[in-house]
Symmetry: C2
Subunit: 313 residues, 2 copies
DNA sequence: TCCCGCACTGAATAATTATTCACAGTAGAA
DNA sequence: TTCTACTGTGAATAATTATTCAGTGCGGGA
């Protein structure tokens, strides 16, 4: 019937538009049909299934997993990177590169970047960042104090400084230990004007970069000297904590596992973190799987994970 | 390396754009990438083959054949209609419907339509046209005289009148025989003021509807009484004529086969026809295949054909 | 080292496309 | 028949997308 003729016309238009790359106005002239009708018929071409658009995922890319992560944890964006070996270092490479690409691609002019220390992933990410040419961050703020051991302390400092260099920003260091000996000691540190200058920037942070720590097999915590006593760690574990972000511990549901420890940590608090427009969490490896769950459940924006084996659909 | 990350990003954007129907501006906000970059990355998505657009021809539709016709004969548009039986009448139905759809879909407001008589296809087309609602033609001009036999003469008149009604236009009849007895007789007819009024409109014709006649097994010519003598027809054939448009005969290459006959035909001449912005030729059936070749080679804009069997690729 | 020329970016803007609007026509209900 | 709701149209316009432009960095040849 006339249906055939109409479909023929639609297909013809679709061919001219998608196939031959003509503008709607050109088709309009050629076929003596108004541009508005061409536009409407092209819309129908999709409905009728005459044109179909197929998107094929590039190799080593996992859109389904990413979508599942976004969906499940309400993330604005999730990026999954693949890794062919199960070595810790290979995994760090993979997420470092992925995170760096995201960062470079995504950082806007004039951002105030908050960066947590104590994270091998962040270290790797920064290692992989090329100097930003186009845009400059306003400043890079260290949002977690360093570590007791001075040599590791300087690691944290370097992380912040390095990122500031790369982004052309002013570094704002947090010249204090990440974990004070006591609540009182922390208050004393807060009296320091440099410390205050930095913590005052917390509210201005526009993008926070954080790692996700595992409570159980934790390299960082092990290296932290005796910031935390074994007793404290066991207490945390007993109360369900499985990981941390900025040394704020979380249970499997992403609930904050508080306690006296919180009073000793010199860094951004969870509510402060939640107030940051964009929180970028970087983590990888099987060790981090459960903590990721926790962290994601909380309030983040972005998250990387990298597994040694191809993730399941 | 970074290629993977870039492709991942492109695929992500493509999914958001084509799959989820987001605007580029929304994606821009979501992914923290400028709209200009989104646009550019979407373009790359096509180049990289991440998005592919497939156009599937509806059933009973022959885009390849149509393209070949357009290509080969330089037509602006070609429409092929299918027909399941080989009966003459079924073929006429098919092209009538197709041509009517084209006409309805395509006629603009205020056109001056020229219509040839002597064509069963045009008859059928007009039969299939629904009254035009939206637009009105200015006038419908008969561009070929009627036929000797008065009853058939009135056919031509009705064709023109009918189309004028359907398009809300003023009919301009050509009250004269299509083939005068002699060159002199034609000149006499041209003296008639009604005839002149109509022929004066020829130059204003904006869309000409013509059939394509076959010289050899010609129903119309047979019915024409003795407008042409057998001798004349044989002479035409000898000189290579295989078909006609508006009783202007053409050879297999589309060249005009002139002669004294031309001086007796009361209708639009080939040069006049060529000057019309849009010439729509309607023909179908195997009988018309060779004449189509001729006609197409000439100078037309549009052409239908309908074959009983599915056309080859 | 200094200078092209190329490549790439975001903002501004041009170009293109989708939608609104006003108006008919049509079908179905009253 | 008359009304109303709905459909479909092109012109005008709003919205969206592509491109230009100006600026910057990089690479490599002089």
């Amino acid at each position: 019937m006339s249906r055939t003729h109409e479909l023929r016309l639609i297909a013809r238009i679709a061919q001219l538009y998608y196939g031959d790359g003509l503008k709607q106005a050109e088709i309009s002239r050629l076929l003596h049909i108004s541009q508005a009708s061409i536009s409407r018929l092209l819309a129908r071409a999709q409905e009728e299934g005459i044109v179909r658009i197929a998107i094929t995922a590039p190799r080593d890319t996992f859109p389904k997993t990413e979508a599942a992560l976004r969906q499940r944890y309400g993330l604005e964006e999730a990026i999954v990177a693949d890794c062919f070996e199960d070595r810790e270092d290979a995994i760090l490479s993979a997420i470092g590169a992925a995170a760096a690409h995201y960062f470079e691609t995504t950082m806007a002019d004039g951002e105030v970047i908050g960066i947590s220390s104590w994270s091998a992933s962040l270290l790797r990410m920064v290692d992989n960042i090329h100097p930003l040419k186009r845009v400059k961050a306003e400043r890079v703020v260290q949002i977690l104090g360093g570590i007791g051991n001075p040599s590791v302390q300087s690691h944290a400092t370097q992380l912040t400084t390095r990122l500031a260099q790369l982004t052309g920003a002013e570094p704002m260091l947090l010249p204090a230990q990440g974990v004070a000996g006591s609540s009182a000691a922390r208050l004393v540190m807060l009296g320091d004007s440099y410390v205050r200058a930095t913590t005052d920037q917390f509210r201005r942070v526009t993008m926070a970069l954080v790692g996700i720590g595992a409570l159980q097999p934790s390299v960082m915590l092990a290296n932290s000297g005796n910031s935390f006593t074994n007793e404290e760690l066991q207490d945390l574990a007993r109360r369900g904590a499985i990981g941390d972000v900025c040394l704020r511990f979380l249970d499997a549901e992403g609930r904050h596992v508080g306690g006296p420890l919180d009073e000793r940590v010199m860094g951004m608090s969870l509510p402060e973190l939640a107030a940051v427009p964009r929180v970028v969490a970087v983590a990888g490896g099987e060790r981090k799987a459960r903590p990721c769950t926790a962290r994601c459940s909380a309030a983040s924006s972005t998250c990387w994970s990298s597994t040694a084996s191809p993730p399941s659909a």
